[in-house]
């Protein structure tokens, strides 16, 4: 099987969908001519194949980029627009929160908005808090949006292809730290359903629910704990909205213990939602109190030792698991 970084997998998904459907176009800052001449980046080479009609470099105008998607989607196109970094979502948020998410409802179901907003996210690049801020909980809180956060290159390909074909607005958040490490990716047509979690490692002793860049941390912790005889089951949500409650509850039913792991800050983070689902619908399954392992409630700092302190590590996850075993 081909091995691709997540950026390349996204590129392949975009390329295949643009070849398949002439109504798909991409737009954003530098999606055509980029300051990064790097084949590991998601939109590399698409301008050359599809031309400037379908690969639209825009001014630095996040509200207009998102509005372009909303208007064009209602008119029958399938826009895939890019907000360069997750924190810049704030500049596009009216179009996403008040329009992409609500206009179908406000039309009484007459209009559809088949659009995808791609955003790069995640700490670890030393860029500081205005480029590295995981805001998935903000969009997950808005009814009318689907929220997808792949952790592997294969899932990124399969989920983006599904997102482009979905008739609803999909917020697709990519962790930059995953762009560069090659991972196996199926060639050709490969669709991953939105709304389905996946058990990335089976286990019997404790469930770790995670997503996006934290899957690697969970896998590393599970390897170490396996050497101590502790079998960790890792559930990769892949999609936050709609949330695959069944997969979470099925795993907790098996292990009786839960740790939720995410990179985003703790207060109001999506981990609280996962915890609440298990408390409400699976309380009797729990043999011990659940735990959350998250970024601390601080902006992501730039200095490498401070940034490393921010990002949850496998040592923290292992400690949390041992607390409840």
């Amino acid at each position: 099987m081909q091995k691709l970084g997540m950026g390349q997998a996204i590129n392949q998904a975009l390329r295949e969908e643009m070849r398949r459907d002439p109504n798909v176009f991409i737009a954003g800052e530098g999606v055509g001519v980029s300051i990064h001449l790097n084949p590991m980046f998601p939109t590399h080479g698409l301008l050359e194949e599809f031309g400037p009609k379908r690969v639209k470099d825009t001014p630095v105008s996040e509200a207009a980029i998102a509005g372009l998607a909303v208007g064009a989607a209602e008119a029958g196109l399938r826009p895939v627009v890019e907000i360069m970094f997750n924190p810049f979502f704030t500049l596009a948020s009216d179009m996403i929160v008040n329009h992409a998410a609500k206009l179908r409802y406000l039309s009484g179901g007459k209009s559809t908005f088949p659009l995808v907003v791609r955003m790069k996210s995640g700490a670890g690049i030393g860029a500081g808090c205005q480029h590295s801020h995981n805001l998935e909980a903000w969009v997950a809180h808005c009814p009318g949006l689907k929220v997808v956060m792949p952790a592997t290159a294969a899932d990124a390909k399969g989920l983006l292809k599904s997102a482009i074909r979905d008739d609803n607005p999909v917020i697709f958040i990519e962790h930059m730290g995953l762009y560069f490490a090659p991972m196996p990716v199926p060639e050709g047509e490969y669709l991953t359903p939105i709304g389905k979690a996946e058990v990335k490692r089976p286990g019997t002793d404790v469930t770790v629910v995670t997503w996006s860049g934290m899957l690697g941390v969970a896998m590393a912790a599970a390897e170490k704990l396996a050497q101590e005889g502790v079998e960790v089951e890792i559930v990769d949500l892949r999609t936050l909205v709609p949330l695959d409650k069944e997969a979470i509850l099925a795993s907790v039913a098996k292990t009786g213990r839960l740790v939720v792991l995410h990179e985003a800050t703790r207060t109001g983070g999506f981990g609280g939602e996962v915890a609440a689902v298990v408390m409400e619908e699976g309380f009797n399954l729990l043999k011990a109190p659940l735990r959350r392992v998250t970024g601390p409630d601080i902006p992501v700092p730039a200095s490498p030792p401070l940034e490393r302190f921010y990002i949850p590590g496998d040592d923290q996850l292992i400690a949390a698991i041992k607390e409840i075993l």
């Binding site: 825009t58 207009a64 998102a66 509005g67 208007g71 008040n98 206009l103 009484g108 209009s111 009318g144």
Partner: protein, 321 residues
């Protein structure tokens, strides 16, 4: 001015209809519990929507704002479905989900009324982009107020539309007031149309109480857009005769100012113009007025007789299944 006779009559008709429709709403909203939420009327500004929409083809798109009733009626929206939606009934054009403020009538290519001030222009840009992308002979008109022009999103939209030469017509309905603030309290340049220069697009200010002038400006802008020449900005200078909404006592609007503008009402202006040219007879005018009365009466009856949605219908239409 070379405006077809039937277009002139159409403008008079849609102005009469919206005025009658909104006069009725002004009374209905005084009855406790009759009209949920806010009531925001365009009384005195009808020449803008009626003049602009008369210059459009049915396939052209309009994007509206919180002061939308005239725009939508002029675009051909069904008064019954509109009134029922304003009543928040199930038979409303949006099944009671939008109410008076967010009316969406995609069947007449009026897919979005946004009450977020300044949100319309970026969406209009998206619609116009789709029209250009598909090579269609259609344009998008975006109505927004002088208050909205202070939003950053309006700048972003105009810049992008001009850059990509999109077939969009920005219509700034300058009604002198943004909330309680007069124009000169929120805009340093007395001409909103001047802003077009910054985007290298044509900008024109017209008498917004003259439906024929609005028609002419929009028709010209539409022809430019269809010829691939890109967007235009038209500032329609008019006046908000009523409050921001019906709950607004207008204590900050001088009475003499309101009276002076009521004298400039766009409806008798066009009516008398047509009568003096012999394009319409007094009898035809009386017929039109009677028809507007009947249409609105029927819309109110339809809305009154319609059921409210069942509470659990609130859960429908969030996502495509």
């Amino acid at each position: 001015m070379n405006i077809p006779e039937e277009k002139q009559k159409e403008m008079l008709w849609t102005m009469l209809l919206s005025r009658r429709f909104e006069d009725e709403l002004a009374e209905l909203c005084k009855i406790e519990g009759k009209i949920p939420g806010m009531t925001i009327l365009s009384t005195g500004q009808e020449a803008v929507g009626s003049g602009a929409c008369a210059a459009l083809a049915p396939e052209d798109v309009i994007i509206s704002n919180h002061r939308s009733h005239n725009h939508l009626l002029a675009k051909g929206a069904d008064p019954n479905a509109l009134m029922a939606e304003i009543y928040c009934k199930r038979t409303g054009c949006n099944k009671g989900k939008s109410g008076t403020l967010h009316l969406a009538v995609p069947e007449v290519n009026a897919p979005c009324t946004s009450t977020v001030v300044g949100a319309g222009p970026p969406i209009a840009v998206g619609q116009a982009f789709a029209q250009q992308y598909k090579g269609e002979q259609r344009v998008t008109v975006c109505f927004f107020g002088d208050g909205a022009a202070a939003e950053g999103s309006v700048h972003e939209a105009m810049n992008l539309a001009a850059l990509w030469r999109l077939p969009v017509i920005f219509i700034c309905e300058n009604n002198v007031y943004a909330g309680a603030q007069r124009y000169e309290e929120h805009a340093p340049n007395p001409s909103m149309a001047d802003r077009a220069t910054a985007y290298a697009m044509p900008g024109e200010a017209v008498d917004g109480n003259d439906a024929l002038a609005v028609y002419q400006a929009v028709r010209d802008a539409r022809e430019r857009a269809l010829a691939g020449e890109g967007p235009s900005l038209i500032e329609c200078k008019t006046y908000r005769c009523r409050g921001h909404g019906e709950a607004d006592p207008q204590h900050y609007q001088p009475k003499e100012e309101i009276c002076a503008w009521q004298e400039k009402c766009p409806i008798p202006r066009l009516r008398d113009d047509l009568l003096s040219q012999g394009l319409i007879t007094p009898e035809e005018v009386r017929d039109m007025e009677a028809r507007a009365e009947a249409v609105v009466k029927e819309a109110v009856r339809f809305a009154e007789d319609s059921p409210f949605p069942n509470p659990e219908e609130a859960l429908e239409d969030v996502l495509v299944a």
